[in-house]
Amino acid sequence: MEEFRKETRAWLEENCPPKMREPLRNEKDACWGGRNWVFQSEDQKIWLERMAAKGWTAPSWPKEYGGGGLTRAEAKVLQQEMNAIGARSPLHSFGIWMLGPALLKFGSEEQRLRYLPEICRGEIRWCQGYSEPNAGSDLASLATKAEDKGDHFLVNGQKVWTSYADQADWIFCLVRTDNTGKKHHGISFVLFDMESDGVSTKPILLISGRSPFCETFFEDVKVPKENLVGELDKGWSIAKYLLTHEREMIGDYGEVKPLSQIIAENCYTPNPILRAKIAEFEVDAWAFAQTMSRMVMEAKAGASLGAKSSMLKYYGTELNKRRYELMMDLAGHDGLEWESERSNDGQLARSWLRTKGNSIEGGTSEIQLNIISKHILQLPGA
């Protein structure tokens, strides 16, 4: 492993452009790839290409699908070495975070070979079509209909809160193929091109003043049958698998700057009450990081995290909200500015508002607590 670390360090040193070692200044600095992606800089492009060539945009996926074929331990070393030089993630991708794991587990060989390599190269951008106006927390009551028309499905209905739907190339989407049985039955997991006839999106303006997500409408959209992932009517198990995966991830904000460092850099002088809150937060954040590590080790030993992912999702997102509340407390008047250059267009205030969605997206905090009550504590009636 030390050998791998040495090689990795040397490779990163040589291949990661200096500009890609600076913290993201705004959302545009994050590279999302896709058909219509406009690189913010030559460095952003080079960095993606080099990492993709190594398979390191998806380090632990098998090599034949464009991944790096690394073991969990090696992937961790890679992450540590990237963190050490402050390397940006070369690619932000729902394809890597969400769809890929589903295809690896439930997709056909053909589907994997078709979609995974382009995901790894950042050539295709995906969005997640789960939630509907009347199916949020109660996702399984979704109603977007897919009728069997021989060689294709005909999809009609509406999704909502679809993150980046207006910028995505393809969507992985939960549709109803049977509504005669229980609600968890009759859901199917399909993939289709957002440029298909009958797909339209309408951005939703958020409290942060930005519009990263959309209402997404389907009117007689033809989806070829080969785009069905897994078995017909059994898509709920894929959705559940993915949600579990997503939850482990949402709770993990990776390496974030410790508040103590933010205080030092800005010469903040928090009063004793705020200091106590920050100290308490930092202890919780530390204990949470330890818990994350412990869970990774447990999972490595062969155990599935299962419902424990809800614990990570719940605690991790609530912590992140607390972190931003404290950053706002520290920044005081300055943190309230909304439009000035000085405030980078209200970056802090807008990020603070964005974090309020952390405990809603991917299943609300209340739903995570319900899952814990039911599946871990097995409380009566839960």
Binding site: I207, W338, A349, L353
Partner: protein, 373 residues
């Protein structure tokens, strides 16, 4: 202590309720924001508020005011909080009126009070200089120069600073602190409007050796700390009242949503986990109301303990209003994150009011110190 409203106060509350819901509902703030209005509040509204006597609620009758006191001012502020009404009420009718009332000389009162009553002149009070409220750490200098002074330094988070006709500037003088009345067009003043998260007005102001005469001293040289005390207490209590209104309203919006949104074949308000959240918030809001009434009453009676009581109320409202806003977003689910609903506007306004004139942490620390620990 007057923890119950008397008949006059109830009547005022009713008329303020009717007035703001009709003339300045949340929709107005949206319009001001979306049209990037230069003033940041509606001038016709302010003129009507003057007619209603709201602008002169603290001005003595002999100068044309209605002089109804702090409880009345608080009730008006609460209704403005409910409707997220933008207006120079806090800066002009409360902060400036209180400064003038407590320390101005007769000539200044004769000049400015009638202008406040008629709504023709607005004021901004410039206290803070750094990212956190710190009235004891003022460093803007007023150096004696000839018959007057030269002001040099910076102010930040000056509420209504970019629209005010007159600034009340707190400055360091040789023997303590002094407040100056400075017109907006004084030479050497640079006023930068800062648009805040709540779409309201604030400004950063730079003073580059701004010359002022002795007549522009509010009250006497060196009286600044006393003026500040009385102005800050008034402002904090009125802000607390505004926060009470905003948090009560956003909690009502949430409760309505709990009564109508359906998931899992049930109305989400049927889930006991959510019922308890709403009920807990209700309890907190009841305490918050008592704290606000106690602070306003203390101001009206101007007892010894005013500063402490007002500080405790501002601390309490800081945490309760924050809770109300955060619960509102969370319990609305994805809808709570949208600009379409008003929830986000409340969240943002409450964040700003938390910070203004000292956040909860500031007032908790003061309260602890005041009690000797």
């Amino acid at each position: 202590m007057a923890l119950l409203l008397n008949e006059d106060e109830k009547m005022l509350q009713e008329s303020a309720q009717g007035f703001f819901t009709e003339k300045a509902p949340v929709k107005q703030l949206r319009e001001l924001r979306d049209t990037q209005d230069e003033t940041g509040y509606s001038k016709p509204l302010w003129a009507e508020m003057a007619e209603m006597g709201f602008a002169s609620v603290l001005v003595p009758e002999e100068y044309g005011g209605v002089d109804m006191g702090f409880m009345a001012a608080g009730l008006i502020s609460e209704e403005m909080g409910r409707n997220l009404t933008a207006s120079p009420f806090l800066s002009t009718a409360v902060l400036a009126a209180q400064a003038l009332k407590s320390h101005a000389n007769d000539e200044q009162k004769n000049t400015y009070f009638p202008q406040i009553c008629s709504g023709e002149t607005t004021f901004a009070v410039a206290v803070d200089e750094t990212n956190k409220h710190n009235p004891s750490g003022i460093s803007l200098m007023a150096a004696a120069s000839g018959n007057g002074f030269k002001l040099h330094g910076k102010k930040t988070m000056v509420v209504d600073g970019h629209t005010a006709d007159q600034l009340l500037v707190v400055a360091k003088t040789e023997n303590g602190t002094t407040v100056f009345i400075v017109p907006k067009d004084a030479k050497g003043l640079e006023i930068e409007r800062t648009i805040m998260a709540d779409s309201r007005n604030a400004a950063r102001i730079t003073f580059d050796n701004v010359e002022v005469t002795g007549e522009q001293v509010l009250g006497l040289v060196g009286e600044g700390d006393d003026i500040l005390d009385s102005v800050l207490n008034a402002g904090r209590a009125i802000l607390a009242a505004e926060m009470l209104g905003a948090s009560s309203q956003v909690a009502e919006n949430t409760n309505s949503y709990l009564r109508e949104r359906k998931q899992f074949g049930r109305i989400i308000g049927e889930f006991q986990a959510l019922q308890h959240r709403a009920s807990h918030l209700y309890c907190e809001l009841e305490l918050a109301r008592s704290a606000v009434y106690a602070a306003l009453t203390a101001l009206d009676k101007s007892g010894d303990d005013v500063g402490n009581v007002v500080g405790m109320a501002k601390a309490k409202l800081g945490s309760v209003a924050k809770l109300a806003a955060l619960e509102a977003v969370q319990l609305h689910g994805g809808m709570g994150m949208t600009d379409e609903l008003d929830v986000g506007l409340y969240l943002k306004r409450i964040r700003v009011t938390q910070e203004l004139l000292g956040d909860s942490d500031y007032h908790l620390e003061n309260s602890a110190k005041g009690k000797g620990y």
